[in-house]
Amino acid sequence: MRKVWLFLACCLCAGVFAQDRKDVPARTIAITAERFVFTPSKIRIKEGELVEFILTSEDTEHGFLIPGTSIHAIIPPRGKGELRVKFVANRKGEFFFECSRACGAGHNLMRGSIVVK
């Protein structure tokens, strides 16, 4: 009977963790934003993969915008925290992300790309 209880407890835990795992990203990618560059600037992910970007700034406030999507958020200035963006890539291709807060002379080219394979 002990074995039955043990088995049931394991199954119960597995069920609970299966629930939690749904929101656990397959990959977490740390990105640093600094006048006027994202590092890394080219990120490769898989189609259908749940990924999480953790963005921090090394200087001022920057924006994180993927044009043509609903993904647009603010990266707080250095020392004021981080931004976490979790999303799923639905289709293959190369997509750009860019800074959406005017941050200085090279702001226009503060961009990066996400390659979905």
């Binding site: 009977m1 039955v4 199954c11 119960l12 069920g15 609970v16 629930q19 929101d23 740390a30 006048r35 560059v37 590092t39 890394p40 600037s41 080219k42 963005l55 090394e58 200087d59 001022t60 406030e61 924006g63 915008l65 044009p67 043509g68 999507t69 609903s70 993904i71 647009h72 958020a73 603010i74 990266i75 707080p76 200035p77 250095r78 020392g79 004021k80 981080e82 931004l83 976490r84 963006v85 979790k86 999303f87 799923v88 890539a89 639905n90 289709r91 997509f95 750009f96 959406s100 807060r101 005017a102 200085g104 002379a105 702001h107 226009n108 080219l109 961009r111 990066g112 790309s113 979905v116």
Partner: protein, 460 residues
Amino acid sequence: MVNYKYKNMVKVFMALLLAMGMSAQTPEQERRLERLEQKMRQLDPTFAIGAGSWEERLALLEQKLDSVLASSRSPRTKSEPASPEPESEPKPEPAKEPFSLVSVKGDYESSNDSESRMPVAGYMEAHFNKNRGEPGQADFHRFVLLFGHNFSRRIKFWSELEVEHAFVEGGEETGEVALEQAYLDFLIKPYFNLRAGMLLTPVGLVNERHEPPAFNGVERPFVETFIIPTTWRELGFGVTGDVGHGLRYRAYLMSALNATGLNAEEVLSSAKTNGFQASFRNPAKALRVEYAGVRRLVLGFSGYTGITGNQFLSVKPAVSIASFDGRYSYRRLDVRGLFANTWISQAGKLNFVLQRQVGFGANVASEMRGSYIEPAIHVMPRRLRQDLILFTRYERFNTQQRMPQGYLPLGEFDRKALVTGFTFKPHADIAVKFDYVLNYNASAVIRPVNAVNLGLGWWF
């Protein structure tokens, strides 16, 4: 009896397991899904509710939502009947949005305000400078506004308009209004883009990143004032891009320096045309390559070469600059450094011609050299919103490193400086600065004076 009891418990657990392990849904999620289904039914009464497993119902809901969104996107006038498409020509599935946002968590909220508006930014800095033995002077040094405009996602404008020293009066030696930048970017590929207009010469650390909170010290480094004439802007065009692996470049053709402005004291500063009556007969070539492939490390190489534009037919000196720089942060420690060397060809001839023209020798060197290193430490705990940076910068710069034949270098131009102070940031974009400058030179006659500087700068 006992067996019966356990059998029931097993049944209950098995049911629980099925509910949590296989479908892995809670009653709350079930209720939320039902509510969504009911809302969808309000939108479309034909939508079926509650059919299939939890995943199937969710998939059905997503599919229906996509079709509703697609139909709402296609414009249809009131007069047009909402007739269904003929069955023989099935409607193609709407293209899926490339990314499905799951969540945004951060210290700032997400924003739906994309950058279609005109980006406006600016920086300002006010200084108080006191040289030993002289009265102190307060100066609102820079008031700069930056404007941009996106013509499209691929064509963007950027500009920087500056008022220096607060007050400008025609014909008087007071402040100045200057166009520091005004250019168009044509974004083609990440590794290849075009840029044209009034550009910052891509040389050194500070010339392109000169916002007050971006560097320590009230005044910009001496090396990036005398050896690299910050802020240096010229008319030009070129290519720029990010080739991946942290490697990026900028390569421009720019208007040439004006040889009549070259001298021993300021060297290149007075030779900048700043886009006014600039000579493009022999455009200068400027290149910067940066490597930022390792987190918090940026290494840069800058090169510049160009024949100066001038009114003297007999002499056409060329100015060349090579500089290496680096920035690195490790935990609470920042280190930055730069080495720059400048060459001026035909310096002897130029000195001779300038003496004949203006009546005194410009004493222009054929080679100049400068370098600095600046360690800095963030002393306040990370959890605090404020930041206090203690720094010290050692600079060595000689604007007469090598003289043309027949000219002797003067010791007063072989200089060293030790700048020590702090930058306090009550906000990441506001800097209260203080530093003490110990100046040295190699002259036995002219002794430099030490200075105290206080500054307030901000960026928005």
